[in-house]
Symmetry: C2
Subunit: 271 residues, 2 copies
């Protein structure tokens, strides 16, 4: 049930968003989407029964930095035409996680058999969008260069609660030399709908992180000498909150196996 890291870059490197979705739909792609369809927005997925979905949407609305909603479905409708003409949340991700009362019960490559008329799908923006802009500006992301996952930490920053949804913000950390950290703040400020500017810089203990080399999720990529750790609100926050709430039923994407859309990252830049 563990997810094998395979990027399929040789086979799918040239495909746009739709091409990647079709490959997911056919079962040709079942692993991480990082590096696929460069330039296209990828999104985190959360699917909840309608009664919880209303609270969850309010939670996202109140916490736009960790939970930037870029698409919501009508109950029972698995399509999100604003993100892709024929996009189908039931088949178009490489791999899913199905949860019952907070417990992982399945990691299928499609969820047609789990789909119900009362389910609402949420697509939540992801840092891949702003990372493309960071790298395009010449900034180096250590975790990318080392082929690792971004380090993520639970913080002492409380999200604004809404209904049953509450919990701490999860942040991702990338470290830079100070002048590059300033540049990274400027660049990510341009992308408010995909986490936007950092929420913290430089003093991890102030947000409840006692050991910067021991992330709660992802890999250990501590800052190098002369660098500052910079922290962005992370799309793992809603998943972490859902795990705490233990809803009767929920579906998310499997880690790294995101929804690839037809929207371009540059469309999400406000400047």
């Amino acid at each position: 049930m563990t997810l094998q890291k395979t990027t399929f870059e040789a086979e799918f490197g040239g495909e746009p968003g739709l091409g990647i979705r079709l490959a997911c739909r056919s079962g040709a792609i079942t692993g991480p989407t990082c590096g696929l369809a460069p330039g296209f927005v990828q999104g985190n997925l959360a699917i909840l029964p309608k009664d919880l979905a209303n609270d969850f949407l309010r939670f996202c609305q109140a916490n736009p930095k960790p939970c930037p909603v870029i698409g919501v479905t009508d109950a029972g409708n698995p399509h999100v035409p604003s993100l892709g003409e024929d996009l189908d949340l039931r088949t178009d991700l490489p791999r899913y996680r199905v949860w019952r009362h907070g417990e992982l019960v399945d990691e299928p490559t499609e969820i047609r058999e789990y789909w119900r008329g009362d389910l609402v799908g949420f697509v939540i923006g992801c840092s891949l969008s702003f990372e493309e802009a960071l790298m395009g500006a010449g900034l180096k992301l250590h975790y990318v260069e080392r082929g690792l996952n971004v380090p993520m930490f639970r913080t002492n920053i409380a999200c604004q609660p809404a209904g049953v949804f509450a919990g701490p913000m999860v942040v991702s950390m990338r470290s830079f030399k100070p002048a590059d950290a300033i540049r990274a703040i400027q660049i990510t400020t341009r992308f408010p709908s995909v986490h936007g500017a950092p929420v913290h810089i430089g003093l991890p203990e102030r947000i409840g992180i006692s050991d910067i080399s021991k992330p709660d999720y992802g890999d250990s990529v501590p800052p190098l000498e002369g660098e500052l750790p910079v922290f962005w609100a992370c799309g793992v926050t809603p998943q972490s909150v859902i795990a705490t709430v233990k809803p009767e039923f929920a579906i998310t994407h499997a880690p790294g196996a995101m929804l690839v859309t037809d929207r371009k990252n540059v469309e999400f830049a406000i400047l």
Copy 2:
């Protein structure tokens, strides 16, 4: 010859740029302009003989963060109509400093007797413009609240040399809690023509500052517990460079006794 700190706020608090300049011209204001004509751009002054002025303009062009030129005169012409209809650099600042071969020889309240047909005046943007935006956004500036001068440091960041002009960048330091530091970076990014975004954050030793409590200019206002020092390129840089070059003749404003213009700070925001 020392400059007395008097703000004249009671008498001149309601005056716009022109009113302050007229009061300078009449000799009614001879001290610092900080706090006067709120909302109006204030500028640093540098006056040099024409042969040096060409190199100096190239120096400023190559170093726009410490030396953001917002007005230049024709040789021998003391007016800068783009900054104020009747603005006269010879009389409209509260107090000047006259330099010969790098030595301070006079601190007059007007420079009509020193004016020459070969002099070129430079008005250089100043951090008061972006500080208004910072305070308007609710950020606290410790040095302002404590009635002190901003701490400034010579760094190990070399300016791009041009002709005879060369030297290290001088920076001003303001400290903030990390989330406010991020906000301060965003806000000052909007003001590229008045120093713009910071040049450094968080690791002062990396830019040659060994003791954050011992500034080279201004007052000691070290960061409080839980704050990061944030460093902006400072308009003292050109004065420091001129002092090193020791030109045959130069005039600057006296510290804090700036040129008050008719331009609004908000006009300098790019966003």
